[in-house]
């Protein structure tokens, strides 16, 4: 059990997501930075779908009511336990009544707190991932007590599968970059409807605007004459272009269908990377040659 002393500005329970329900209009949800999510579980030898806490912009404070092991991955917010700084991306043993605090931002946006055995909140439609209207809560609140799975005594042995994931060079990404983040994209279904000059504009550096778990808006606009479409599918990582030129990159809580032309599709890796970028960050789309 974890007591929420400070929830931070937006913290949620997340697992791999609510897959298999898109035909009812239900978005996949799930940890938005999939790499850091898998790493948080792998460090602990958890199952790859065990639920974790996704903490946006730090600011949170938690008290552990049982001794357990935890891991912190993703955005680095100078975390400490009982005032003593702890490292990222490592298994950390905690004692009963230990207090985990987040401090100054060093990198990234979203930190994942993995707990041995996983978070054990109620599942709705096969997932613990918070989503308004589906789970009872859509964010954690001050004073919440979050259930965790009681770990078995031998659970601290890291399984073979987890170790092989940890050896994969792609299991961590560098979030400390100050320069332009390059997002690898495939062309989307309506890309070919763009004119040559519209395509060229999309090669320019752009800036992240307003964003949340539903989507990332870009600050620049791309004037366009693209022909409209009938409502069709949209996925996490789909880049939509509106008639007024707004670019929207859909994320895990984004709608499963949409009426705007789809000009790019991010790779999962680039979507994970984008989820660690804040407003004002410069990005550039890099087309994958097919």
């Amino acid at each position: 059990m974890i007591e929420v002393i400070k929830p931070g500005i937006y913290s949620t329970v997340q697992d791999k997501g609510r897959l298999g329900h898109a035909h009812l209009g239900i978005p996949p949800s799930g940890a938005i930075d999939g790499i850091s999510f898998r790493l948080a579980n792998a460090i602990l030898g958890n199952n790859d779908n065990d639920a974790v806490l996704e903490i946006t912009f730090g600011g949170a404070e938690f008290k552990f009511l049982i001794p357990t092991a935890i891991s912190l991955t993703g955005g680095d917010y100078t975390a400490s336990i009982n005032g003593q700084k702890i490292p990222m991306n490592q298994l950390i043993l905690v004692e009963e009544n230990d207090v985990l605090q987040f401090g100054q931002r060093r990198s990234g946006v979203r930190t994942y707190l993995g707990v041995l055995g996983g978070i054990n909140t109620k599942q709705f439609l096969g997932s613990r991932s918070y989503y308004p209207s589906i789970t009872s809560d859509f964010r954690i609140k001050k004073g919440d007590f979050i259930e965790t799975v009681t770990p078995l005594n031998d659970a601290l042995t890291i399984s073979g599968e987890s170790t092989s994931f940890l050896e994969n060079p792609m299991c961590q990404h560098d979030l400390t970059t100050e320069c332009t983040v390059e997002l690898q994209v495939y062309v989307g279904p309506e890309y070919s409807r763009l004119s040559y000059s519209e395509m060229k504009t999309l090669n320019l550096e752009m800036t992240i605007g307003r964003n949340d778990r539903m989507g990332y808006m870009l600050q620049e606009t791309v004037a366009n004459q693209i022909t409209p479409i009938h409502t069709s599918s949209a996925l996490p990582g789909t880049v939509q272009l509106t008639p007024s030129g707004q670019l929207i990159i859909l994320m895990n809580d984004g709608q499963v269908t949409g009426g705007y032309p789809r000009i790019f599709q991010l790779t999962d890796y680039s979507k994970d990377l984008l989820s660690q970028c804040a407003q004002g960050q410069k990005i550039k789309f890099a087309l994958i040659n097919q």
Partner: protein, 239 residues
């Protein structure tokens, strides 16, 4: 063999395949999409997203080559075209709607823009049997086909910051109900006092694609009774 469309295939990134029919909103096309979707099943496919003239299949793992999948889908399509089966009988779901300015903030503006009376609008909106094409936009949001042409009205220039759950609306040539509160650009013409989406149920939605939706106009008394019923329901304590 019945007439076939030429399907086009487009990989959406490396984990999804978009299958498209000609860009039309037609019952014949959506019926094919439902049939093809029912014929497809594979353990590495997590989701099947149906829309007006497309079906998108989403894979759990990255695909290096979509050609074998395209062949697989095309074979299934040929098979269902060569072996036509009758669609399973459709359910008719009747939904009560209270068409009153007290619960429909855009009703009066809409009527004056359309230059029709409330009685005429209610008649035109409750007459059709709407086909539930697919769900999208938000959990439990139904895309319905069959709105009377006389009720078509372009979306609002500026969307409302928040539309109440249960709002019945018209946007362009479409009509629908907002199952959940959300910002929206459609004209709110009524309110449906019945829960359309309950995540506690194994089947969270009240109707399935292919079913028929029929609206029934109700008076204030019945509206309040139905509203009292859903507010007493457990699920709404979670909202």
């Amino acid at each position: 063999m019945s007439m076939s469309y030429t399907l086009t295939y487009f990989p959406m990134g490396d984990r999804a395949l978009l299958i498209e029919w000609p860009s039309q909103i037609e019952v014949e096309i959506i019926e094919e999409i439902w049939q093809l979707r029912a014929a497809l099943s594979h353990e590495i496919i997590t989701d099947y997203i149906v829309a007006y003239h497309s079906l998108t299949i989403v894979f759990s793992v990255v695909q290096k080559d979509f050609n074998p999948w395209i062949q697989w889908v095309q074979d299934k399509y040929t098979h269902i075209k060569n072996n036509p089966t009758a669609l399973t009988p459709k359910k008719v779901v009747e939904l009560p709607v209270y068409y009153n300015p007290e619960v429909a903030p855009d009703l009066e503006t809409y009527l004056s823009k359309k230059k029709i009376s409330l009685q005429e609008m209610i008649h035109l909106h409750t007459k059709p049997e709407y086909t539930l094409f697919f769900y999208g936009f938000q959990p439990g949001f139904m895309y319905l086909g069959g709105l009377d042409k006389k009720l078509v009205q372009p979306r609002k220039d500026k969307p409302s910051a928040m539309v109440n759950s249960g709002s019945v609306a018209i946007g362009g040539a479409q009509t629908g109900i907002y199952p959940l509160a959300a910002p929206g650009g459609w004209h709110i013409i009524g309110h449906c006092p019945v829960a359309l989406f309950d995540p506690h149920l194994p089947e969270p939605c009240i109707a399935m694609p292919g079913d028929t939706i029929k609206f029934r106009a109700i008076e204030g008394q019945e509206y309040l009774e139905l509203l009292g019923h859903i507010n007493g329901n457990n699920m709404h304590k979670n909202h």
